[in-house]
Every structure is written in structure tokens, then in C-alpha cells.
Symmetry: C2
Subunit: 665 residues, 2 copies
């Protein structure tokens, strides 16, 4: 019915007009004013939005250069951010840069100490140059210059350096963080003492030293004022001032997509203690039948999950409230919570997509206690003309599509009407992210596995790869709590037998990629991918459930993990070879003219039999299989890329092994 | 293939969480600070986003009460906005409130004049109460209190009044407009003199009077400061300060979806002289075949249009540049342009959807001179499972869907995979609106008729009805220029015979609704809608083209306008009657069990013949037709609703006439 092709060469799914998309964000502000918190949030948002963003920290350059005790006091700006370019979320600051502790004490930051001027400037210059290299020669869109930059002179130097090097191809945005709320500053200072400069120092000494350091900075601090606005006019400099963690925001001269997005994002974040819950819909009838997309009802298991969910959430909600109430009695028990004021129970929102399976999963929530709302934006990725097809059929009947998808996981757009790519999904989910950042109430988001995957990648700052590869399953529920030092993640798994939820290791789970099967072609030169028994070991790939085989136990044992499913293809030929060898950049060069063999379908039932009838075809095949297996380099590369775990020749077929993590029913 | 139903009871297509969506925006600022410009823009944006918004202007209340010369000087705040709730775009201020000119001169606004205090407060109170009524008892989401509100006392009174009446169900956002740029103020003052208070006064006197009025206000003006921040803390009051038309923006305590949207919108508008061009794709092969949706190539006519387009745009671009250059020589020739600085030619962007038909329409633009980009957001409305169906088949085979659509034009969502509603479309287009407001460069947007319709409704502030009903055709190109007093719209029509574009009357065109045909049911009790000749006079409805019959001449003559197409249905019965009578709220009550007659298809070729074979069916039919025609009230209501223009009985059929505006080939 749908003959629409979306294979337009222009696939931008994002509003980002032709203007130059390079931005230098320059931090301004005293230490312990939440600069690093803000820049890290921005970095996460931009990277997730597919604008490559890195933080360049002068403090790190200083520490890099002086891993031992400092002898040369230097007025280099400093911040608590350790990584020049933190790519992955880290659970705590404790693990960072072990062994690179420094002892730059307060005297080091004394502004009257003139002798180190040159060295200090050299480090700042080095850091800024690295940032500009990133924008100019690498694929960087946003470089964040994380330092105090508290003097007009320093800022003037930055503006001139950026302008002369980038020649107008990058905009400059100063991001000044001001804090007039004493309590907030105190908290930030305590966070600071956990940072790299003070980790090895005694708390009391560290506090004293840091306060001295602050005084040194305060003595020279110049905020961005109207005179500077005028002076910077010719450079078209923009700024945004964030006062008291976003309570008040002043923006000046904002233009350009990235700057506008930056200010909008800063306008919407908040520090309220709250929980963001994410879970995919319960298992559906289509899942059981390995059908992707669609709009089917929940399966029996799905309904069971739907019934258990409200009870679990109610319990967790109560626990959260108790924790908050407790804080009022034991003051400062949770020092790193932003708000110690009287706890008023927040409202609890349940957001679903508009599809049946999420609405059914939310069905047992009481409308009196939960605010229900469904969003089209939370719908599953649209599979276009492949919607409602069996997930293995998709890979067999639409081999070109599957091949394309594997090659361009992020930008691959499903063909036909409405078909979406992961990039489209990110674009569609951006308003949801803004809403989740803005919302001060609890939210439980019941959506689809693809959507949950993309949202988790935002919150946990996972890599580009994980946007399409993170393992997300039915029955898992993720709880995110914003904290001053980042985010806390907890994960529970629903167990059908006990009808209850069990906590699982979130660090392990956030690293786990879903398994993808290898591909091959059948004896009609059509791709075939079949498991060796009826318990089809299909990959989770897109939306259809991955059977009980891939369900993860709380503590999977070695035998569980190594339990495998045999996967084989009836035939393998040059096409198969060439596809598998796609890393070399060779393309599939030939299309067979051999007619489709009507036997193909029946083959799946008697797998390890030969599907090839004519002897000369078989000979050619055997030869090819031998040549594939003989190519040790190819085999090892395939293993490395985790396309396969093992393969060998059996009865004239190339048999491919894939190991599946999990247990069998 | 697609068996997805989107008929979820929850159809919200917008991110607007469960929180109360009521907002009181309170203007603060001296006269001639662009308050009305900003509030009108906000009103337009919110209304288009389907948040009902009205401006309540104290100056209007004052003028309403005193249409004659004033005897009682009053210090009521004033603004140049005349309409308490301007719903439609107006081309110039000249046409407004003719005959209600007032002569409240400067002494009227003297703050030392104590005697009128009571009366002044009464008017402000009346206006604020009207606003709160709108939020509380009507369907209002946002009420804008447009007045100067320049004193702390006045603002305190507002906060207390709103809080005590709304009891926390509405948030308060102060919107202070500050102007320190002398040139900008001068321009605003000159605009002011065209307003209702000064229209009938001599320019020089008016200017003097207005300056005195300004001085009176300046003497008591108190900006929102930190003390007021503190005082208003318990009321959770938010504010945003716009300094020099958005150059600098300070926001305080912003929370809530509407406030956040408001600030984001204000962050992104700009006053640069530029052009926004909108045009639907050229005619496609699917259009010729009356197929909706799809992704076909352009037709011969479509390619002709695509070739002509870049030449036309290049000419218009040159004209624009000449105009801008001219301004530099004849200073102040265009006093109402914001920027008189040296003109630098802007870049010109061409934005398309990702579908073939828009990319093909853009194909002849030079990539050197134009910045090309395609956006998925600009794609046609998604017809879901009805995609690629013939548009009359849709109305016949999916009568329920069509019925639903006619009943709920805005919220009706096409069934099946990815199917969208107009509300979904608005939600999808919002980032495009923000980009168009933010962009300082020229943009030509080549999209689809439905999308162009929705975008035009935003820019021209058209009514809710026009969102689905505005007449938009292939070959039309709309040019929008932002001006200090609003927007300038010009429209050109492509003429294939001369291969050139001609300007058409934009006022007439912005009022014109597309024609929708009446509906009926066939002799199998299935709805049928057919034209009496092969030149099918189908309505434009959704995406399929409406033939040459409906193309509009530059100056259509009476005979052209009255040229009509006969439209008839083979049979009419009680279902027809009930559908047509849907205004009464009656629903279609019966479904026929009669089997589908295979003759139906062939009937269309020999239209005015009887489709009914059995005499008793014919008798029943004749009776029903007579009863329909006898119901004078029904007939006149159908005519009023422009479902039909005329109808009569002919050879046992009910013949319905629809007039089409335009000429035949």
C-alpha cells in the first residue's frame, strides 16, 4: 500500500539552519558556583542532541603539568572538573584521576603573585588552543572553556584569541554563574572538597585552604557589566548570567541556534528532589509473535506487569517521602541535597505514548493519585512500511534495509510512510527532555524500548554507540534522581514468578549492549538468518521481544551466560562474504538472477539439512565456505565486531554461532 | 498491512503536563516601549499553539467609557492596543475603531491629579476582573493585562487581586519592557501617534502631548527590583524583563510550561528586515490522479513551476536588496523600519520537507547562492493508513473517518501508522516557528499545502477555523515581511501560460475558505460523492489537487466565479439525511446490511443514469428525496453551512450543486 521512499539524500531531522554551528562557551565565575555542574549538563544535552561538545578545563591542564607538589604558585583558573572531555557518565568523583592528586594550595591562587603570570597564561592558552583545534580540525560543534575567567582582561584576551583564530566562524557565549545564596555556596564548597585538588587533604585543612583560595579570586572578580557589553559589541559577544542556580537568568545578545538552545535549556533545569521513572511497556501479543511496531494489546505477562507496577511505584513513592521527611528531623543528614526546607509531597505524573500497549500498562494507576497524560512524542519509533512485519522476515525480505541499518544505525530511516531514524527520534524527544528537566514533580514515563533506550542515553550520558545498542528489556524499570553531583540511577527487574521487583546492578546494565545476529544470504542469493530450533534466537534489534533466552538473571552464572543458540544459514556465497567483509568498504557487487526456490520456507523446520540440490552449486558453495573459513583475519574481525562467536562448515552449510546471555525457560 | 488504531481516548499532542495551565501576564513599562508589539506576538503564538489567549487593555476600557471628549482627567494606564481581544490580523491601525477617537490629553495622565484616583482604579479593576473571568469561567489559558503598571503599588494590588481570586490556580508573570535605545523609542513614539488617542490630532500637537504624557509616567516609574522580588516571594511571582526589544532579557523565578514557553519565544524573536517565503510544492503526479499523501514525482506542470521559481525568487531578492540600499541614501524614508544601518545582504535559505515533491520543487536553486536544507518537520500531514488512497475513495470507503474528520477538524487524527491530526502538526511545526522567528536571514519554505496553511495561520493570526479551512493552492507563493506594526503579506500566483508570477489580492485570499463537498450515501447505504463529469469536482480537502477548476484568476469575474460543477449522488436515504443534519447533534443511527453492489464503480462514468434497479427501492428513494427537499429548514441550513449551493431531484437521484470559484481550462 505504501510506496513511499524516504531515501532522500538530505536526512537532517533537526532544526539547525545553514548558519555556522560552532560555539565557544566561556565560563565565568568564582569557584564553587556550580559552573561544572552546569557545563556538564550542557555537554550532556548537546552531545545527546548530536552536537559534539567537549569541556576544556584549565585546572586539568594545570594538574597535568604538575602531578607532583607544586613549587610554582600559579593563578590559573580552576574548576573541579577533572576530565578534559568526559565521554561516559561516572558514578562518583572518587574514581577519577587516581594518582594525580595535586597540592596547589591557596597561595598558588594569590593574584598578587606576579612571577607566575607567564606560566599561568601559557596553560590557559594551551587549553583554549586545544578547544579551538577541536572546533576547527575535529568534528567539534561546542567547546566549553571551563575556568573562572573572573577578570575583564582575561575575557578580553579570550575574545580576541577566538576571533582571530576562528575568523567569525564560531560564536562566543560567556556563561557566568553567580551565587548570592550562602547556603548554596556552602554546599558547593563541600562538594568541591571531594574534588581532585583536595581529595587527599584533611577536611578541615582543605576547607580552610579553599576559603583562602576563594578570597584570592574574590579580590579580583569583575562581573560582566554594561561597559563590557559595549566593548564586546564589535565581536558580537553573547552572554548568559545564571544567578542562584537558575532562579534568575539574564541573557544578552543571544543569536544562533546553539546559543538559543543553551539558554532555553538553562531556563528549564531545576534542582528539586524528585524521581524520574522510565519503563518500557509490558510485553505485548505482537512481542510474543516477534512482530515489530504494530499496536497490539498486552500479553498475559504484560498484563501481569501492568498490575504489579502501581503497587511497586506506590511503595517507592512512600519510601521517597519518608526519606524526605527524615531530612527535616535529621538536619544536614543528606548534605548534598539542594533543598532542606519542609517537604511537601509532590504530584506524581504518569506519561504514556498514544499506543495501546503503554496505555494498557498504565491502566491500573489510580487517576486520583496520579496525573495521567499521553504524548504522541513518546510513541515507538515508526517502522514505516516495515511496521508489523516479523522481525526476522524484515532482515530476510528486506536485506538491503537491514544492511543499511547496520551500517548507519543512527541515521538509518525506516522506509515508507512516516518511517523514522534514531536521529528523528532524538529530535522528537527533545521537548520531552526539556519537560523532564523543567518538571518539579515525579514522573513515570511508560514508553517503548527504543524510546527508553534513547532517554537513558541522555540521562546517563552514554556514548553515541549506546543510543542504538543499549540493552533495554521489558520488565525493567529505571529510576533517576537528580543530585548535585549528577544523577543517581537505580534499576529493578520484574519477576513474574514472585510477582515482585528486584534491584539489579545498574553499572553492569548500563554497559550491556544488545546482541545483534550475523547476516548471511540463502541459496537464492537472498539473505537468510535462522535459528537451529523453533525457539528462534532472533536478536532484539527492533522492538520485537527477544524471547526468554535473553532475559537477564539477577546474577547470571557462567553457564547461563554461555548457553547459546546455534544460528546458521543454509547457504553462503560471495554475497555473504562481501557483506561480512563490509569493514573493508567493499560493497555488495552482484545481484543473483537465480530464481527464488520455493523450498526456502520449509528449510527452517529441518535446519541442518542441505538446501542445495544441484551438485555443482554445492561444490561452488563448499569452496566458498572453505575460503571464508580459511580467511583467519576475516573470522577474527567478525568475532571482534561481535557479529559472530564462532562458525564452521557443516553438511555444506556455514553454521554461525551466537552466544546469548541469559537462561532458558 | 497496518492495523494500527490511534483512536486512543487521550489524544494530547502537546507537551503540557498536568499542572494548571492558567497564566496572567502583566505588562510593565512606559508607553512607547513596544509592549503592545510584544503582547500581540505572544497572543498570536499562544493562540496558534492552542492555548486560548486574550489581551485585556485598560486603555480600551478608558476609551470605551469616554467616547466623547474627556472632562475627567484620569491616570489610567494606557497602551496603543485598541482591541480587548483582537482575533484577526489587521493590515493597519488606520482602520480600527473609527469614530471612537478620544481626546484624553497629557494632563489626563498627570500623576499629581488625585481627584480621579477612584475612577482610574475602577477601570483597571474592571479590566482585570474581565481578564480573570476569562480564565475562570471561559476557556482562557492566558490573560494579558496590557497597561503600564509602572508603580509598585499598582503591581502589588494586581498580585493580591489575582491571588485572592484565582487561589493559586493561575501563575503571575510580569513582563517588563525597558527601552534605553533612544532611536527605538523615537520610532515607537511615531507609531504611537498613529494610534487611537492621536489619530485625529495634528502631528505636531500630538507629539508634544505624547511627550508630556510620557513625562508624567516617567516621574512615577518604578522598575521591578530585588526588593520587589523579595516581597513577591510568597506569591511565587515570576517576571521577565525585555530590554531594547530583546537584546537583553532577564527572567526571574520562571516555572510552569506557559511561562517557560513565553520566555523562550521572547528569546528568539528579532526585528531584522527579512523575508519569509512560503509555497506548497509544485503539482505532482499523485495530485493529477487525486491521490492523497504518497511520495510521487512532480507532474509536467509541477516541473514547470519548479523551473520558474528560482528566477522569480532571484528577482524578488534583488528588489529587496535595492529597497534596503535605497534606505541608506534616503535616510528615514522608511521610518518604520527598525534598522537603518548599512545594509549587508543576508543569506537566503531554502527549506524543504524530506519528501520528493518538495525537493524536486527546490531542485533548480543554485547551491552556491542558496543554503538548502530539508526538515522532516516540514513533511506533509501523515494520512496513516489512508495514505495513497484516492481522495474520493477515502470519503466513500472510509465514511466513518471522513465523518469524524468533518466533525473534529482540528483534533481528528488519521487512522493507522503515524497518522496525524492538525493538532499534531501544530506541535510538530512549533520548532519551525521558533526558527523562523529567530532567523535573521531570508527563508523560502517549500512544503505541503496543509503545512503552509498551518504556518500562514500563525503568521496572519487567523482563527482556529482557518487552521483547517484556509484555501491554499499549488502555484501560490506567500511572502511575509516582519514590520514594527505587525507583518506585511504579499501573494503571487504562478501562471503556466505566461510562465510568470502575478500578484494577487492577499486580503481576499486570507479570507477564502476551501470548498468542502456535501456527503451522501449510495444505494448500498455506503456514502458516495461523485462529480457529473470526468473532470471530477472533488474538494481540495486533503492534499489531492483540486483541478484547474479551482485555480483562481488574478481578478475573477462574476461569470468565472459562478461557473459551477454539478455534483450528485446516485441515491440518498435516511443516512444521508442524518449525516447532513449533523448540526442537530443526531448521530448516524443505522448501518446497512445490504451487500455492496459491484455496479457502483461503473456508475461514475454515466452519471445521470439511475443506479437503482428494483422499483420498490426506487420508490422508497423518491419518497426520501422528496422529504429531504421538502424540509426547507434543512436545505437552508445546508446552504448556510456551505455544504451545498443547490439541490434537486433528477431521474430519481438527488442532485447537489456546488459552485466553484475559478475558471475552466
Amino acid at each position: 500500500m505504501s510506496n513511499i521512499s524516504n531515501s532522500s539524500s538530505m536526512t537532517s531531522s533537526d532544526v539547525s539552519p545553514g548558519e555556522s554551528l560552532k560555539l565557544v562557551i566561556v565560563c565565568v565565575g568564582l569557584p564553587a558556583r556550580g559552573k561544572s555542574y552546569i557545563t556538564k549538563k550542557l555537554q550532556r544535552y548537546f552531545n545527546w542532541s548530536q552536537f559534539n561538545t567537549k569541556i576544556f578545563n584549565v585546572g586539568n591542564t594545570r594538574r597535568e603539568k604538575h602531578t607532583g607538589p607544586s613549587e610554582v604558585p600559579v593563578l590559573g583558573p580552576i574548576s573541579n572538573n577533572c576530565n578534559t572531555a568526559p565521554k561516559k557518565q561516572e558514578k562518583s568523583t572518587e574514581n577519577r584521576h587516581i594518582g594525580t592528586s595535586t597540592t596547589h594550595d591557596a597561595s598558588f591562587f594569590d593574584s598578587s603573585n606576579k612571577e607566575n603570570l607567564k606560566l599561568r597564561e601559557k596553560w590557559a592558552k594551551e587549553t583554549l588552543n586545544r578547544l579551538l583545534d577541536y572546533l576547527q580540525y575535529e568534528d567539534g560543534n561546542v567547546g566549553i572553556f571551563d575556568a573562572t575567567n573572573t577578570t575583564k582582561n582575561r575575557r578580553k584576551w579570550i575574545v580576541e584569541t577566538v576571533t582571530s583564530r576562528m575568523k567569525g566562524s564560531a560564536k562566543i557565549l560567556f556563561l557566568e554563574s553567580i551565587c548570592t545564596d550562602g547556603e548554596l555556596i556552602e554546599k558547593n564548597i563541600h562538594l568541591k572538597l571531594m574534588g581532585p585538588d583536595y581529595r587527599s587533604m584533611k577536611p578541615k585543612l582543605a576547607l580552610e585552604d579553599f576559603r583562602n583560595r576563594l578570597r584570592n579570586y574574590e579580590s579580583v572578580y569583575e562581573t560582566i557589566d554594561e561597559i563590557e557589553e559595549m566593548e564586546n559589541q564589535k565581536y558580537d559577544v553573547q552572554y548568559v548570567k545564571i544567578i542562584n542556580a537558575g532562579k534568575k537568568i539574564t541573557s544578552y545578545n543571544i543569536s544562533g541556534y546553539l546559543s538559543s538552545q543553551c539558554v532555553f535549556f538553562l531556563l528549564n533545569f531545576n534542582l528539586t528532589d524528585r524521581q524520574i521513572w522510565l519503563t518500557p511497556n509490558g510485553e505485548t501479543e505482537d512481542d510474543v509473535r516477534h512482530i515489530i511496531g504494530g499496536d497490539s494489546d498486552l500479553s498475559t505477562n504484560g498484563w501481569k506487569f501492568a498490575k504489579a507496577l502501581p503497587k511497586f511505584i506506590a511503595r517507592k513513592r512512600q519510601e521517597f517521602n519518608l526519606r524526605q521527611l527524615n531530612k527535616q528531623f535529621v538536619k544536614n543528614s543528606d548534605f548534598f541535597s539542594f533543598h532542606n526546607g519542609p517537604h511537601i509531597e509532590q504530584k506524581f505524573n504518569v506519561w504514556t505514548s498514544t499506543l495501546k500497549r503503554t496505555n494498557e500498562t498504565a491502566q491500573y494507576f489510580s487517576h486520583n493519585e496520579y496525573q495521567m497524560k499521553s504524548f504522541r512524542m513518546l510513541n515507538d519509533i515508526c517502522y514505516g512500511s516495515l511496521d508489523s512485519s516479523k522481525d526476522y522476515d524484515f532482515r530476510i525480505d528486506h536485506f538491503d534495509e537491514y544492511y543499511n541499518m547496520i551500517q548507519n544505525k543512527l541515521s538509518y530511516r525506516f522506509p515508507g510512510l512516516g518511517g523514522e531514524s534514531y536521529l528523528d527520534l532524538i529530535s522528537r524527544l527533545r521537548p520531552i527532555i526539556i519537560e523532564l528537566e523543567r518538571c518539579k514533580e515525579h514522573v513515570l514515563l511508560i514508553s517503548h524500548r527504543v524510546v527508553i533506550r534513547v532517554l537513558l542515553c541522555y540521562f546517563m550520558d552514554l556514548s553515541k554507540e549506546m543510543l542504538t545498542e543499549l540493552d533495554v528489556h521489558h520488565g525493567y524499570i529505571y529510576c533517576i534522581e537528580p543530585k548535585p553531583y549528577g544523577l543517581d540511577l537505580k534499576i529493578w527487574q520484574y519477576d513474574e514468578t514472585t510477582d515482585d521487583f528486584y534491584e539489579v546492578d545498574e553499572i553492569e546494565l548500563m554497559k550491556r549492549k544488545r546482541k545483534r545476529l550475523s547476516l548471511s544470504v540463502d541459496n537464492e542469493y537472498k539473505p537468510v538468518l535462522k535459528s537451529c530450533n523453533s525457539n528462534a534466537a532472533v536478536d532484539e534489534s527492533y522492538a520485537s521481544d527477544d524471547d526468554d533466552e535473553t532475559k537477564i538473571q539477577k546474577e547470571p552464572s557462567i553457564t547461563d551466560i554461555k548457553q547459546y543458540q546455534k544460528v546458521f544459514c543454509e547457504r553462503s556465497d560471495s554475497q555473504c562474504y562481501e557483506f561480512m567483509d563490509s569493514n573493508t568498504g567493499k560493497e555488495r557487487s552482484e545481484k543473483s538472477n537465480v530464481e527464488k526456490n520455493s523450498d526456502t520456507k520449509s528449510i527452517s523446520d529441518k535446519p541442518l539439512e542441505k538446501a542445495i540440490n544441484t551438485p555443482d552449486v554445492q561444490d561452488k558453495l563448499d569452496e566458498q565456505i572453505s575460503s571464508i573459513l580459511a580467511n583467519k583475519e576475516l573470522v577474527s574481525r567478525l568475532k571482534e565486531a561481535s557479529y559472530i562467536d564462532n562458525m564452521y562448515s557443516h553438511n555444506g552449510s556455514l553454521v554461525i554461532f551466537k552466544y546469548f546471555v541469559g537462561r532458558r525457560k
